[in-house]
Symmetry: C2
């Protein structure tokens, strides 16, 4: 088999390829699609974004999908349906996207993350057996049939099998696309949770980890008091001021003072914890809560950058938090010596970054290159990972 595989991989790397990446958020708010031309040209990575879009989920499926993935106990029939319906919805949006873009390029492959149904990187015991595990559903086979294109998925399985966290996977993309021999580069992604990647200009080392909350608490408060999914441009937050009582309580959260590597999620930064904190204090206006939380998001990010960089630091911000003016204001206050930039200036649209990352990982897998960095995920070895489904 190795003879076949070697031929395949050599051919794949012979010229730049066009790969489409798909990322669908855990809150089923949208389907991110992005197309890039990727190749090795004279020993250097070519990565050129050709197009990207974000399309919405059909409203009637949003709730159904959320229920399936967010309860611990789910009917098998619903999981099975999800496994087919999710790629069908994604496939329909790809078809529409391609029709609108009238590509002259043929797409070579799709990188499709699917939806995480369960993620358990620490082994759990069953009698004398034990196993870590992760489960993403959304069949690559089905998407391959719909689109007529090869689909790569199951990006996290091999890393988790080898003892890794199966995450984060973005740092390898950050390293290869944003590396700069003259500057220390920090990529900041402010999604539900905030994470950073720090690239060392003299080696190809990357440090990457979660630093604290991103928008998760901001969105929750916005929904609770203003009935809006998120605080557009930080408008509500900007009418508030810092509540010192809340601010000092937030600084006590143990996670933010732990040394890296560390990772976190919505389980820790939950509505419950925030409500507990707020109800232990005297009344704070919703705008003040938002303002303080935005400052806290900026603080968690800045503190880590401050501690782990030395000089000439360029900071690229992406994710929803990029559009929150209060977060941005505090980031600049906390990091006065850093040079701020956006991923756009490097040709990577912020909103498409994750989708582009999965296009890149698919390209690497098809070329036989590892996709996870063991020093970041904690895995025992580098893994190529991924499965490939071909159309009929």
């Amino acid at each position: 088999m190795n003879d076949c595989l070697q031929l395949f991989r050599n051919k794949w790397l012979e010229k730049p390829r066009i790969v489409l990446g798909v990322m669908t958020g855990t809150s089923f708010d949208g389907i991110d699609l992005a197309i890039a031309k990727i190749g090795m040209v004279k020993g250097k990575l070519l990565f050129e974004v050709l197009a990207h879009t974000m399309t919405e989920y059909p409203v009637e499926l949003q709730e159904y999908f959320s229920t399936i993935t967010k309860t611990n106990q789910t009917a098998l029939s619903d999981l099975s349906t999800f496994n087919f319906l999710h790629p069908k919805v994604v496939g329909a949006s790809i078809t529409k996207f391609l029709a609108e873009n009238t590509f002259t390029n043929t797409i070579d492959a799709i990188g499709y993350h699917g939806q995480t149904i369960w993620h358990q990187p620490s082994p759990i015991e069953k009698g004398t057996f034990s196993s870590a595990s992760t489960l993403q559903l959304g069949s690559g086979s089905v998407l391959a049939q719909i689109t007529g294109l090869p689909v790569v998925n199951e990006f996290r399985y091999a890393d988790v099998f080898f003892g890794g966290q199966g995450a984060p996977l973005v740092p390898i993309f950050d390293r290869d696309v944003f590396f700069n021999p003259h500057n220390e580069v920090v990529l900041v992604n402010i999604g539900g949770i905030s994470n950073i990647s720090i690239l060392n200009p003299s080696t190809d080392d990357v440090i990457a980890y979660d630093v604290g909350p991103g928008n998760v608490w901001l969105d929750y408060i916005c929904k609770k008091y203003f009935d809006k999914d998120f605080d557009t441009n930080g408008e509500f937050a900007s009418t508030g001021i810092v509540s010192n009582s809340l601010w000092f309580k937030l600084l006590e959260i143990e996670f933010i003072n732990l040394p890296y590597p560390k990772s976190t999620g919505r389980e820790l930064f939950s509505p419950q914890l925030l409500n507990e904190i707020i109800s232990s204090l005297e009344y704070i206006s919703p705008s003040d809560i938002l303002h303080t939380l935005a400052k806290f998001t900026a603080y968690c990010i800045s503190k880590e950058i401050e501690q782990n960089t030395i000089f000439n630091t360029v900071v690229y911000v992406s994710g929803g938090g990029l559009h929150n003016s209060v977060i941005q204001k505090y980031l600049r206050e906390f990091l006065q010596n850093a040079q701020f930039s956006t991923t756009e200036q490097k040709g990577i649209p912020s909103d498409a970054k994750e989708a582009l990352c999965f296009a890149y990982l698919a390209w690497r897998i098809l070329g036989g290159m590892p996709i996870a960095i063991p020093s970041i995920t904690g895995a025992k070895k580098e893994t190529i990972s991924g499965t490939i489904a071909f159309p009929s």
Copy 2:
């Protein structure tokens, strides 16, 4: 991408390959492993069985796995664990098998069916959306990491996507391995359910469908009255006689009188239905029940063969029912003009037939050949199906 894929497939078919097939029963009674040398030699299929074995599941996992796959509602953490633990158990038995066999041949790939968690080939509706679906778990990625070999799985997805039943998949194996230009050939597999494949000597047409119960009711009665998992060699059945009251009740079951194509399962031939039938009758001894059920299994098979074959019929029997003397006796009584043979006489060990089938399907997928027959599965088109996971 097509350029890469074509190279891969041509190379794969250039010489015979060694493929290992894995089949694990729905009752978690064992893991069937079989290795075959498969290739096209001068336009003809070479299919040579090199080794096979059946290993047992670790007892402590049998019940855990059964609970996961047999309840409609399952904790996501258990499904995720199953997705990793099942290939780990399979991987351990492959490693042991290969060590014991001291192969000089390198294995090229593994065909791993995994376990069906849910199978819903008829579309179900969700608002204005609808989808058929199927879900097999047991990650091919994980098995590839454990064995260091490429793993093919997700055999049924593409067929179900294109409107097929995703089953049966064995007929294509039956057709290619058992075809005989001089005889009508019938393959009978007596597993939980009985199914047949009928090969026409003048075309490469195959008719294949489920004909009725195999051992499902026999095993149930055996467990209930004799506390044994199955009736070894039909010993209990052979001490009984036909109960006419039960016999005539069984003949009324609608399914057995439907024309083909048809498929069935344990949902129809359930303990509930059998208990209902039996309790509507006067007392019948357990051995008489077993004897009558064995005759009924033979009848369901024979009736279909009788109706759908013409002349010179060779019948190959495989599956657990091959070892039930009462089923075998009645088959010969009902089909006096047929010539009985075993798959062994064609070099295919009966117990390894399904595992060999999945080795063969994996070989076809890697060579870019379709694996399901639309006239049998009901799909709108031929599908190659399958995903391929590579080791790191």
